[in-house]
Symmetry: C2
Subunit: 445 residues, 2 copies
Amino acid sequence: MEQPAQPRVVIIGGGFGGLNAATALAKLPLAVTLIDRKNYHNFQPLLYQVATAGLSPGEIAAPIRGVLKKHPNVEVLMGEVVGFDLDKRLVWLRDDGSVPYDYLVLAAGATHSYFGHDEWEKLAPGLKTIEDAIEIRRRVLLAFELAERSVALEHAHDLEPIQFVIVGGGPTGVELAGTLSEVARHAIVRDFRSIMPQQTRIILLEGGPRVLPAYPEDLSRSAEAQLRKLGVDVRTRSVVTSVEPGGVTLADGSQVRSTVTLWAAGVAASALGRALGSPVDRSGHVLVNPDLSIPGHPEVFVIGDLANLADKSGQPLPGLAPVAIQEGRHVAKNVARDLRRQPRRDFVYLDKGTMATIGRAAAIARIGRLHISGFIAWFLWLFVHLMYLVGFRNRLLVLTEWAWSYFTYQRSARLITGSETLPGWSDAREAASTSQPEAANTKAS
Amino acid sequence: MEQPAQPRVVIIGGGFGGLNAATALAKLPLAVTLIDRKNYHNFQPLLYQVATAGLSPGEIAAPIRGVLKKHPNVEVLMGEVVGFDLDKRLVWLRDDGSVPYDYLVLAAGATHSYFGHDEWEKLAPGLKTIEDAIEIRRRVLLAFELAERSVALEHAHDLEPIQFVIVGGGPTGVELAGTLSEVARHAIVRDFRSIMPQQTRIILLEGGPRVLPAYPEDLSRSAEAQLRKLGVDVRTRSVVTSVEPGGVTLADGSQVRSTVTLWAAGVAASALGRALGSPVDRSGHVLVNPDLSIPGHPEVFVIGDLANLADKSGQPLPGLAPVAIQEGRHVAKNVARDLRRQPRRDFVYLDKGTMATIGRAAAIARIGRLHISGFIAWFLWLFVHLMYLVGFRNRLLVLTEWAWSYFTYQRSARLITGSETLPGWSDAREAASTSQPEAANTKAS
C-alpha cells in the first residue's frame, strides 16, 4: 500500500502539537510515523480533575492509535526517543535502533522543574502525567483516610487539621487549590464521622505579587477574590526555598506545615530539546526560526511547549494547547508548500483568548480586550474544553460526569490505588506512637 | 450522637458480603465499623472488562464511604487487619493498635492461588483486584505495541504471532478468553499498520474435561462451542505443571508458547480465615455453623468467599456474589434476633440461578431448571449485572460505555500505565538482539 517514494515524516510526541501535525500531514502524499512513550494522548487541561477525583484517567485520555486510525498513511509507534542524528536524519530509540526521516517534527512538550532540587519531587509531586494525577489523588484522599482512622481509634484527639499546601499560583496551582477546597468543603463532608473535612486548610503559595501572572492585573485580582471565596488561603510574595517532609520553608525563614504538598511552580522543556544540539533558552526550549524549523535544518521542526518563538512584542509564545495546535497545523502547511516547491510562510499565532478555571462556577477569561470573571467565564471554559476534548465518546461521558458532579457535589473517581503511605505524615505518626505506649492509643486499653 | 450503650459490630471487608451486612446492620440500634484495606468497593464480576480495556477502573469501583454515607451509625476505616483476639474481642490493625467489637463479621474474601508456586504470579497475573486488572491490561496492550514496533522497524519479519495463554477454564478464564478474542479480532484491527491483531491466538487451558465445570454439562458444551466460534483455542484435560517466561509446560511434557500468560486457575481464601484460629478447609475457608457463626464464638460470623458452608446436598456453597449478599443480610437478621432475644435462624441460600459471560452476545445461564445460551443469556447477564452494579451513577456510565462499545466494537479504556516491560518478551528480544549486531536490525542500516 505504501509508496516507497513518499517522504517520511517522523513526529515525536502525541500531545496537542504532535496529534494536530499528524492529522494535517496525513492529508499529504507522505508516510507519517508518530512516536510516543505512552500509547495515549493525555488531555492536560483536565488533568487536575483526575488529581482531585472528579474524572477517571480513561475519561481524559484517548489511545493515540484510535485517534489516528482512519489515516492509512499514519503509523503509531510506542517507544522512547533518546537522541538524534541530524546529519544522517535518524531518530534513536531506547533499545530499539533508529527510525529514518525526511522531515522531523519534535513535539515532546515540557515537564515540571524543581529548580535543581529533584529530591523535592517525592515530597511534592507535580501534575504533568496521568501517573502524577493518580499519585496526587492518592495522597489527597489518603490524608483524609488516615486522619479519620487516627481520630476514630483515639490515637490523635489533638490532631492538627489537614493542610494542603500548593506551591505556585499559575493556572495549575489555582485549579488545584480551588478544586481541592470544593472537595473538602462539599464533596466528602458527609463521608466522614470522626473528622470534619470542611476544616481542611488549603494554602496557595505564589512567589510573585499576584496569582495567574500571565493574565491582566484585574483578572488576577478577580481570581484571587474567587479563590478566597472558595476558602483558599492565598499568600502572594511567598517564595518557597525548601520542601521538607511535613512542610515547606519560605524565603523569610518562616515554615508552613503541610499534610500534603503539591508542586505547581516550575516548567522545564523536555530534555529532547537539548538533545537536538540546536540553541536553547535558559529552560531548555529550542529557539526556532519563524517557520518553526531550527537553524541550519529546514527539515527539522520544533513545536508546542518545547519551542521558543517570540510573538510580535518579543515575548515567547505561552505554553498553551492552542499555540501547539496551531503550530502543528502550520508545520503541515509548510511541508505541503515544500512539496509544491513554494516558499514557506512564517507562523503567526492567532490568539483567541485564554481562560483559567478556579472551581465550581469560578473562572476568569480574556477574549481579545474582553475580561470576564465568575460563572460566565466558567461556563465558557467548560464549553471550550468539552469541544476540544479528543474523541466524541469522551466528550459525552465527561459531560455526564460534570453534570452529575455539578448538581450533586459528588466526585466519583475517589479511588486510592497504590500503597498506603504518605510522606511526612508517617514520620509524624511514628514520632507520636513512640512517645506513648501503643496500648494507650486504643479504645481497648 | 453515638450512644455508648450500643453494641459495636466490626465488619472486615467492603465486598458484596461486607457491604450488604453493613447496610442491613445500619438499620439496627448498633454502632457499625467497616474496615477495608482499600477505600473502594470493587465490582468483581466486571473486573475482566477493566483487564480487557472495555471499562475504566472508576466505572466498576465505588468509594465505600460514598455507598454508606447515609447511615450515621456506620463508620468506615481504611486499614489492614492483621489478626484477632477472640477472647478480648479485639481486631488488630497493622501499625495502628486494635478495634474492640461486640460482634465481628469477617468478609475478607479470597485471592488467587498458585498452588504453592507464588513465583508464577509475576509471569502469569491473576484477576482479583483493580491493580491486577490494570496490570493485565498493560501486558495485553503492550504485546500488540511491541509487536507493531518490532515489525515496523524491521527487527522481526519472522515474528511469531502473538499468543495469549489463559490458565483455567472457570468463569474468569472463559470471560478473559472470549473478550480478548473480541479485542484482537474487532476492536483494534484497524489500529495497526504492520501487524494483524486478528492473527492473535488465544488458548484457554483447562485441566478438567470441560470448561465451566460448576455448570450443567450441556451449558459447558455450549460455552465451549461459543468460545470456538469467537476464535478461542479451547484445550481441556490440559493441566499446567509449570509457568516459565514465554510459555507454560503441561502435564504431558508438551510446551505452549505464550506472549502473555494469565492465571485463572486457583482460588485461596484470605489468610485472615486461618488467623481466626477456628477450623478451616483445605483452601483456608472457615467452616461455619448453619447460622454463619464459628464454633464456640456466636459473636463471630464469617461470610462470603471466605466461608465454607454446605448446602442441602453437602456441597460447599459457591464463591458467588449472590451467596455473599444473602449471607451478609442473614447475619444482620440473626443479630437483630439476638437483640430481641429470639433464637437465631440457619442460613438457606436462595439460588436464583447463575450465569457466565463469554463475549459479545455470548453467554450461558442456568435459572432453576432452565438452561439458556447465546444472545438471550448474554442480555440477561447484562441486565442482572447492571442492576447489581453499586451506585446509580456508575450504572448509567457503564451502560453508555457498553452501548457505545457494542455498536462500534470500540474499547475506549486502552491505556498502558506503568513501565514498558513484558516478562518473557524482553528476554526473547534480548536474545534476538545479541544474536545479530544492532545496526542490522534497523531500516537505517
